[in-house]
């Protein structure tokens, strides 16, 4: 048989719940005009989720709502919800109606009954306030009063049809036993999950003494959804569901901006500093100055006037400030002027990794932090199973990237384990953009800190292991001394350096000495040269004298002979010459 008119295919629209994360998982919220089933154990947060759905509708979506309370009196629900800062009193006047439908304790039941009375009453109320959303909280309480399974089933169908006919966005919560998986399939509610359009399961478990809440969308007709279990928690403003990735998130704007690590030399090694928005991992064993590097970064950020948040897991904020002040990192003034916010993880309630993440995200948002230091992020893995801690770390990095926040995470690694093994427990090393490792080098009876950059994406970075030195003047990095294929640090380096210095000085002195000696020799030679020259002159004079005296004598002689001849008159005398 053909239906009289083709059924109007309606595009599935969604009613946002206003719950962080949940709307992302479901791609916008609960199916509008359809029914959703919410199943959870005691204390799993069903009522809060349901109420938040109504509050959001009434407050932000112009969709007034009705809360039918089967379990708790509305007075108590309102009182409990007060802490979330929802303006229930104001909303209750027009946009939010609570219907108390708790069976009275001494109620006597005899024979079959149905819910028409309630639906009729609700009908009147819906018409009056134009309600678009409706919650039946703990419907199982009333269903359990029904004598037979067939009646339960009938009433559920009645309710479902009633909701459909009015195109109300309905949310029915059902209490399940501790083990949700077992309870959901057990009669009479098992068939409900086939009937409704969307099923959400809340799970509350304790893993190694840590409370863990998970939410899972089991089905969602006509819509895609994230099928994985997502951790959630009940925070200060209600429900918060942690999600690994935001669907449709635009890729992060990547900048080439470099920001200082707070240590000059390290900046040089990194080719200018960390990238803005990068995730930096600093690993090292206990006491290797991981916190100090984090603190140096925070100080540098504050000096630039960037709002910064420092989350400390190991010690109290005041201790961190004091300890860092001892190495010349003065954070106190930035805390005072509000630029820096120090958070001691001890003040964070709850200790699951999930709780930490959500709180940190919230606090960072509150503070408007551009730079975030988490010291150490490995504190998570101790309080949780590895899988959760890992996913939390992943989401932390994902989140900080999306926000453009520069993130410094320190991480404790076992000194005994090698670098490779040390990277595995939290596995953020593969996610981090820059990985700095500090280790101790024990040599000649002393421990020195060696810093190296294991990786730094997109950066030509130094391959050198540098010695990290802490002094009251601050953090400095020094070249290590390599000699005979051995890396020398600390005292050995200093010894080697001073030995070198001494040798150098000795050599210089020797040169000087030699020069002086040479100078002396030169001077001596010069003196000798002078005296010789003088001697030479004397000799020359002597020689000249000798020559001249010889000539004069010769002259004398010949004159004498001539005179003699003249005197003798033996030869013809030359005229004009007379002997006196």
């Amino acid at each position: 048989m053909k239906s009289a008119q083709p059924r109007l295919v309606k595009v599935l629209t969604k009613a946002p719940t206003g719950i962080t994360g949940f709307d992302e998982i479901t791609g916008g919220g609960l199916p509008r005009g359809l029914t959703t089933l919410l199943v959870g154990g005691p204390g799993s947060g069903k009522t809060i989720l349901a109420l938040q759905f109504l509050v959001h509708g009434a407050q932000d979506c112009k969709e007034p709502g009705i809360f039918v309370a089967f379990e708790e009196a509305s007075k108590r629900i309102v009182a409990n919800a007060e802490s979330f800062g929802w303006k229930l009193a104001e909303l209750r006047r027009k946009k939010l109606f609570f219907m108390d439908a708790q069976p009275i304790p001494d109620l006597v039941q005899s024979g079959d009954f149905d819910l028409s009375g309630m639906l009729a009453a609700l009908e009147a109320q819906i018409l009056e306030m134009g309600a678009r959303r409706i919650v039946f909280d703990a419907l199982n309480i009333i269903l359990e009063l029904l004598p037979e399974p067939a009646a339960k089933r009938r009433e559920l169908y009645r309710l479902h049809e009633w909701l459909r006919a009015r195109e109300l966005t309905g949310l029915i919560t059902l209490q399940a036993g501790g083990d949700v998986k077992g309870a959901i399939s057990h009669q009479p509610f098992g068939f409900m999950q086939f009937m409704v359009d969307c099923v959400v399961i809340l799970n509350h478990s304790v893993v190694q003494g840590v409370s863990q809440r998970n939410l899972r969308v089991q089905k969602y007709r006509g819509s895609g959804f994230d099928e994985d279990e997502a951790p959630f928690l009940i925070g200060q403003s209600g429900f918060e569901v942690a999600i690994a990735h935001t669907q449709g998130r635009v890729d992060v704007k990547v900048t080439n901006e470099r920001i200082s690590s707070g240590v000059k030399r390290l900046d040089t090694m990194l080719g200018g500093g960390y990238y803005r928005g990068a995730s930096v991992l600093i690993t090292g064993s206990s006491g290797t100055a991981k916190t100090t590097l984090g603190g140096a970064f925070a100080e540098a950020a504050c000096r630039r006037g960037e709002r910064t948040m420092f989350v400390s897991f190991d010690s109290d904020c005041t201790e961190v400030i004091r300890n860092l002040a001892s190495v010349g990192i003065l954070l106190d003034r930035y805390v005072k002027n509000g630029c820096l916010r120090m958070i001691s993880a001890r003040t964070i309630v709850g200790k699951s990794a999930e709780t930490y993440l959500v709180r940190i995200k919230m606090l960072a948002k509150e503070h408007g932090a551009r730079c975030l230091v988490i010291d150490p992020a490995s504190a998570w893995s101790t309080s949780d199973n590895d899988l959760t801690a890992q996913s939390v770390a992943k989401r932390l990095i994902d989140w900080s990237k999306a926000k453009g926040t520069t993130l410094i995470c320190t991480k404790l690694v076992d000194q005994m384990s090698s670098l490779e093994v040390g990277g595995s427990p939290l596995n953020i090393s593969t996610l981090a953009d820059t990985w700095i490792h500090i280790n101790y080098l024990v040599q000649a009876g002393e421990r020195n800190r060696g810093l190296s950059i294991v990786k730094s994406r997109g950066t030509a970075h130094s391959n050198q292991v540098c010695e990290l030195i802490l002094s009251d003047a601050g953090v400095t990095l020094t070249d290590t001394y390599t000699a005979d294929g051995e890396v020398l640090m600390g005292t050995l380096r200093r010894e080697k350096e001073s030995a070198e210095r001494v040798a150098h000085e000795a050599a210089e002195v020797a040169v000087k000495l030699k020069r002086v000696r040479l100078d002396a020799e030169e001077a001596e030679l010069e003196v000798r040269l002078k005296s010789l020259q003088t001697e030479l002159v004397a000799k020359q004079v002597e020689k000249a004298l000798l020559v001249s005296s010889t000539q004069s004598r010769k002259g004398e002689l010949s004159r004498g002979r001539t005179q003699m001849r003249e005197l003798r008159g033996a030869d013809a005398a030359k005229p004009g010459r007379k002997i006196p």
């Binding site: 006597v108 039941q109 005899s110 149905d114 819910l115 009375g117 009333i142």
Partner: protein, 91 residues
């Protein structure tokens, strides 16, 4: 003999639904057997008076309220198990 105690009942029904009709029939029969001439029955149709159901906190139908004598008792259902009903009414 002292003045007989008058039992005042209010029965909330949902139109002419089967279980509502059954409850009215059962109540009438019960009254005639156990409370002849000393009962008053007020029938409220929640379809016609939804506001009243809301105010009175009636969410299951049929619901029988015994208003007098005190204490007030509430019985839901078709009232088919006479023994339970009589016990609840203190009869």
């Amino acid at each position: 003999m002292s003045r007989p105690v008058i039992f005042k009942f209010r029965l909330y029904v949902a139109g002419d639904a089967l279980n509502s009709a059954q409850s009215l029939a059962n109540l009438t029969a019960l009254c005639q057997t156990h409370l002849p001439d000393r009962h008053e029955i007020e029938v409220v149709d929640v379809f016609k008076n939804p506001k009243r159901a809301l105010v009175d906190g009636i969410f299951m139908t049929p619901t029988l309220l015994k208003l007098a004598p005190s204490p007030v008792r509430m019985i839901v259902g078709t009232l088919s198990q006479t023994q339970i009903v009589l016990q609840a009414l203190g009869l």
